[in-house]
């Protein structure tokens, strides 16, 4: 506890212990902190306020309607297709990025030669520095033509499973490709946080396991994974939060269709964020309000996901005794 040492004594030898400069400076710092609280709360307030008009004009159910015609004379719009696309793309991304990200961080922490580990970690972290527009451009121009074969293969050999079935002859601009690009984008998030957790595994646990004759994998399974589980979960949820809110890469890749289509290799699909970016400049007053409403839903979802993730991390800090 450094607090008692830093604070000036309550009574002083001469003059007042409370100095004017201190009060002012403290006030300024508190003000900045409050400003951040204010910004976060006003995001919710302003979005709700500007979203409300569209609700009263909507002649359909906002949550179950999948069409998007907010600027007609009788506006019809809803987020069903958007929510579906957002979650499907994010789930595909999670399914791909979680094992790869965790595997990568285990590899860097426990398998790679110590000298190379730093360079490898830096290389993976570089992925996080690439802007999403460049991921979108790359996904559109490089990944899409190169991954068509995978989609065709899935359709031909696993097509009996409805989600892989393709009723068109087009295999591009699909939720599957959007999911793959999202997976690449959230991989550094998952990998960096779980690496941080794996580095905190007490050295004694690792060495005890190895000393008892465990193989390297048994050491990972019995000493590292149980310790790191909360960290892995929250890392994945932070990745999920990023995948749900990602805009530009998805907007470039998907061919926006307002339809709930479970066939993920077919062109189509749409997400909250991509829809806002694509419809923004052509939207009328009610259209803007409707887009803001969908943005509010996205905000609340990511808020929930991130809060849970942060909660898990915070709880772990309290109980594990590791800092």
């Amino acid at each position: 506890m450094t607090q008692g040492l830093i604070d000036p004594p309550k009574s002083s030898i001469s003059g007042s212990a409370v100095r004017r400069g201190d009060q002012i400076f403290r006030g300024i710092t508190v003000g900045s902190g409050l400003l951040i609280l204010l910004v976060m709360t006003s995001i919710g307030i302003f979005l709700t306020w500007k979203a409300l008009p569209s609700f009263s004009h909507n002649s359909s159910n906002f949550f179950t309607e999948s069409q998007w015609f907010p600027d007609q004379d009788t506006p019809i719009f809803g987020i069903a297709a958007l929510a579906f696309g957002t979650f499907v793309a994010a789930i595909i991304a999670m399914l791909l990025a979680m094992p790869t990200g965790i595997g990568t961080s285990l590899f860097i922490t426990f398998y790679a030669p110590k000298k190379l580990a730093g360079v490898m970690a830096f290389f993976i972290d570089l992925l996080a520095a690439v802007p999403s527009i460049i991921f979108g451009l790359w996904g559109l121009q490089f990944l899409m033509p190169h991954s068509e074969g995978v989609a065709r293969w899935l359709d031909r050999y696993l097509g009996f499973i409805p989600i892989f079935q393709n009723r068109t002859d087009l295999y591009t601009k699909s939720l599957l490709i959007a999911g793959i690009v999202l997976a690449i984008m959230i991989l550094p998030t998952i990998s960096a946080i779980s690496r941080e957790v794996f580095n905190q595994v007490p050295r004694s646990h690792v060495e005890a396991a190895l000393a008892l004759g465990a193989t390297r994998w048994e050491m990972v399974r019995m000493a590292v994974l149980p310790f790191g589980r909360p960290g892995i979960i929250s890392a994945s949820m932070l990745g999920l939060g990023r995948a749900l809110g990602e805009t530009i890469a998805v907007a470039l890749i998907l061919s926006a269709v307002f339809e709930v289509n479970p066939h993920i290799t077919e062109p189509g699909g749409n997400t909250f964020a991509a829809n806002i970016a694509l419809k923004w400049n052509e939207a009328g007053p009610n259209g803007l309000s409707a887009l803001i409403a969908s943005g509010l839903v996205l905000f609340l979802i990511t808020l929930g996901v991130n809060s849970v993730a942060r909660g898990i991390i915070a709880r772990r800090k309290d109980f594990s005794g590791a800092q």
Partner: protein
């Protein structure tokens, strides 16, 4: 009875032999049936390797070692899978972007350049990005640093501090498009300003703030308490101690954090699409009129979708990556310059 402490293990050369065997058979299968293509052949080779290794190891070394080897191979492959996209991405951006990227591209705008014709450049967008990111930094840095000072130097775990700390964490996860939506609803719809470079800068500020607060906090926490105590013991007021002793000690790390935040928002596209209008010409005034930025420039060129505009999009992407690398490089240099000297 065996006196051996260690079971039999596979010789060192087995991995090489197996790799050769699996690649060989995968190529053979591809040649005779031709179902897979290049990607399929590689996948097939890896799968063959996994199966052969596990079987071989299982018969010679036993179950536990077979599983150990299986997972080791899986971890190595997951790293390769993770590194592959970055490698191809860098290669594509550099090889396609270098075609168009020259002094002419950097020093000209897109004014009266037809989307389908080559020519034009990124100057107007570069200018816009520098101005918008600059304004965002000017706003976010003082607020971010002061908030971190409150959290570390004054509050140390009070209720308000916990709330602020939690909201900073949550703010990190705010999707960039929501930041843009918020600035649009508040700044444009409610207060009646026009969409402008400044509105974009405000949206970027929201994205920068949590990064700066967190980085500063980390740095302040590692400033030794002795320094503060020595200063306070000499009768120096706390605010002066913070400004003259604590901040200068931590300044290297703080500037690095700020540069990383700058690098992160420089590539943001979504909030700019909502808060600025696309522009083809130079606009030095961020407070009025449409102003371009490199990310929206790339977006615009992709939307035009002609061969010439796609070339420009790639060149823009390369420019953006180089700009971000300059920011990162500066961050590293600053960190090194201010690092405590032994």
């Amino acid at each position: 009875m065996s006196t051996q402490l260690r079971g039999s293990i596979l010789p060192k050369w087995f991995a090489v032999a197996l790799a050769g065997l699996s690649i060989g058979s995968a190529v053979m299968i591809e040649r005779t049936t031709s179902v897979a293509g290049v990607g399929g052949t590689i996948t097939l080779a890896v799968l063959l390797y996994l199966v052969l290794q596990t079987t071989w190891s299982f018969t010679v070394e036993g179950r536990r070692h077979a599983i150990d080897r299986l997972f080791a191979t899986l971890m190595y492959s997951s790293f390769v899978i993770a590194a592959l996209p970055l490698a191809t991405l860098i290669w594509t951006v550099v090889s396609k972007g270098i075609k168009e990227l020259d002094m002419n591209f950097l020093s000209h705008s897109m004014r009266s350049v037809s989307p389908s014709k080559p020519g034009g450049g990124v100057y107007h967008a570069l200018l816009g990005t520098l101005e918008q990111v600059g304004i965002a930094t000017l706003i976010a840095v003082p607020i971010g640093i002061l908030t971190a000072l409150y959290l570390v130097e004054y509050a140390r775990g009070g209720r308000l501090a916990k709330a602020i700390s939690f909201f900073v964490d949550v703010m990190t996860g705010v999707p960039s498009i929501v930041a843009g939506l918020f600035i649009y609803t508040a700044f444009v719809l409610t207060f009646g300003f026009d969409r402008s470079g400044f509105a974009a800068a405000l949206a970027l500020t929201i994205l920068m703030l949590p990064v700066i607060v967190r980085a500063t906090e980390e740095m302040l926490k590692i400033v030794p308490a002795d320094l503060r105590e020595a200063s306070l013991a000499l009768g120096i007021p706390k605010w002066k101690t913070i400004l003259r002793i604590v901040l200068p000690t931590a300044i290297g790390g703080i500037i690095t954090g700020v540069m990383l935040a700058v690098a992160r928002v420089a590539g943001e596209t979504a909030p700019l699409l909502l808060t600025t209008f696309l522009s083809q010409s130079i606009n030095q005034n961020p407070f009025a009129g449409p102003q371009a930025a490199i990310p929206t420039f790339i977006w615009d060129q992709i939307s035009s979708a002609t061969p010439a505009s796609l070339d420009r999009a790639w060149a823009g992407a390369l420019t953006l990556i180089l700009l971000i690398m300059v920011f990162y490089g500066t961050a590293k240099l600053i960190a090194r310059y201010y690092a405590p000297k032994a």
